[in-house]
Symmetry: C2
Subunit: 213 residues, 2 copies
Amino acid sequence: MGNQHKIPQATAKRLPLYYRFLNNLHIQGKARVSSKQLSDAMKIDSATIRRDFSYFGALGKKGYGYNVEYLLGFFRKTLDQDENTPVILIGVGNLGTAFLNYNFTKNNNTKIEMAFDADHAKVGEIIGNIPVHHIDELEEMMENISVAILTVPVTEAQGITDRLVECGVTGILNFTPARITVPEHVRVHHIDLAVELQSLVYFMKHYPLDDEG
Amino acid sequence: MGNQHKIPQATAKRLPLYYRFLNNLHIQGKARVSSKQLSDAMKIDSATIRRDFSYFGALGKKGYGYNVEYLLGFFRKTLDQDENTPVILIGVGNLGTAFLNYNFTKNNNTKIEMAFDADHAKVGEIIGNIPVHHIDELEEMMENISVAILTVPVTEAQGITDRLVECGVTGILNFTPARITVPEHVRVHHIDLAVELQSLVYFMKHYPLDDEG
DNA sequence: TCGAATTAGTGAATAATTTCACGACATTTT
DNA sequence: AAAATGTCGTGAAATTATTCACTAATTCGA
Ligand SMILES: NC(=O)c1ccc[n+]([C@@H]2O[C@H](COP(=O)([O-])OP(=O)(O)OC[C@H]3O[C@@H](n4cnc5c(N)ncnc54)[C@H](O)[C@@H]3O)[C@@H](O)[C@H]2O)c1
Ligand SMILES: NC(=O)c1ccc[n+]([C@@H]2O[C@H](COP(=O)([O-])OP(=O)(O)OC[C@H]3O[C@@H](n4cnc5c(N)ncnc54)[C@H](O)[C@@H]3O)[C@@H](O)[C@H]2O)c1
């Protein structure tokens, strides 16, 4: 639960990646893996990987590497993969529909439970097994949900955010270009696809031709 | 063109954000803006904003702030907003379709010119004004396109990547979970939506309740 | 069993990024 | 015209992240 002793943020961001990759190795039946192999496959420096793992203690064995099953089990606990995290999605448009059709639970403890939209034509539909409710029902339908995915038009973003926060949401994955304002206890991660595309183009034009992602 | 003198990567990643925000201010008719105002709106420390701008010289005026029109013009040039960058998209599924329906050109110099898919049912369609071709036609249709958006199933990612690189693509925005392998001169930016969601949940559970995105 | 090869873990160095805090100057007010 | 206020640009400090390079432990092949 609490502030898990000083794991650097950069490390924390890589944990889900490690988890998924280990999961794949496990499915493939691999029993062991070295930081060098992980490095090649994930394009992350092997020293960085070892350092990241070391924040959690000595998980490997010298001369051998890491036991995949053990490591996977460890990360499963660390990432709370055993308890499911329910999520709601607001705005069943182009992006929102794509997300509803995607099974996040596959590699993940998260599940989109319901969706909301203002468009009556969409209300009542079931997309990817997820029912779409009218946004007016938000307050009454929400119960113990702390994570929301926001895919409404930019103009609606702040208003919907305020309502979500009011309903007890403390984490928002925001796909709108709006830089929304929230109280201190609410965490927002922005994914700004237009910026990502523009950024890629900028890096291509202005940065030397090699590594990094 | 070339390695624009040592702009830190962290700064470079924020440039498109600044650009879009300044553009909005300009549309709203604002003539001036201070780093403090930008900070409040974009949730980036004002010292960071001033530092970022300072890499390009003295763009502001003490006691006044920044002239929106001037700054916008400056960033337009810096981000090469005058020349259009053509882009292709591979994989017209859930995500791919969402992107085709989105007008990236609105705030952006990028335009998706064509899309490709392996599914004959999709070939010939026009989505968001963008024609969908069969993936077999990739090699013959591609001409002077250096940027690709990859939204195919994970199993296809490496194979398609190899073909794209062969066709001269030097930048890939990769939405598949695959960590694709490319030659040194090709830049890949990964956007891993499942990881982003899982990461948000992890941060909510393990990090103190305040700032940062 | 021995010796070569492998590989984790980590102190220390380096690099990158953010933030503080203040001087210099421009604007605005009175 | 002077004073008060606002705000940039930036050295320096602080923080955060990455990478080097070595030691110690273990494995593996002969
Ligand atoms: N589609 C993309 O590729 C893309 C790319 C970059 C950014 N975005 C951003 O993502 C967001 C969604 O994009 P999209 O293309 O899916 O838009 P969209 O217009 O297709 O979907 C928006 C949905 O939100 C619903 N909506 C409107 N007001 C609402 C409200 N008050 N409450 C609940 N639902 C409401 C609409 O009915 C619609 O279904 C936008 O902010 C857009 O800028 C999208
Ligand atoms: N949809 C999401 O919300 C979501 C979330 C996270 C990750 N992703 C990833 O994004 C990618 C796309 O997801 P999606 O939901 O759009 O999948 P999808 O199955 O809906 O779409 C994939 C499309 O690629 C096409 N395709 C298959 N093989 C091809 C080939 N060789 N050449 C060209 N086209 C080919 C298919 O015909 C299909 O139209 C996947 O890798 C997925 O893991 C998607």
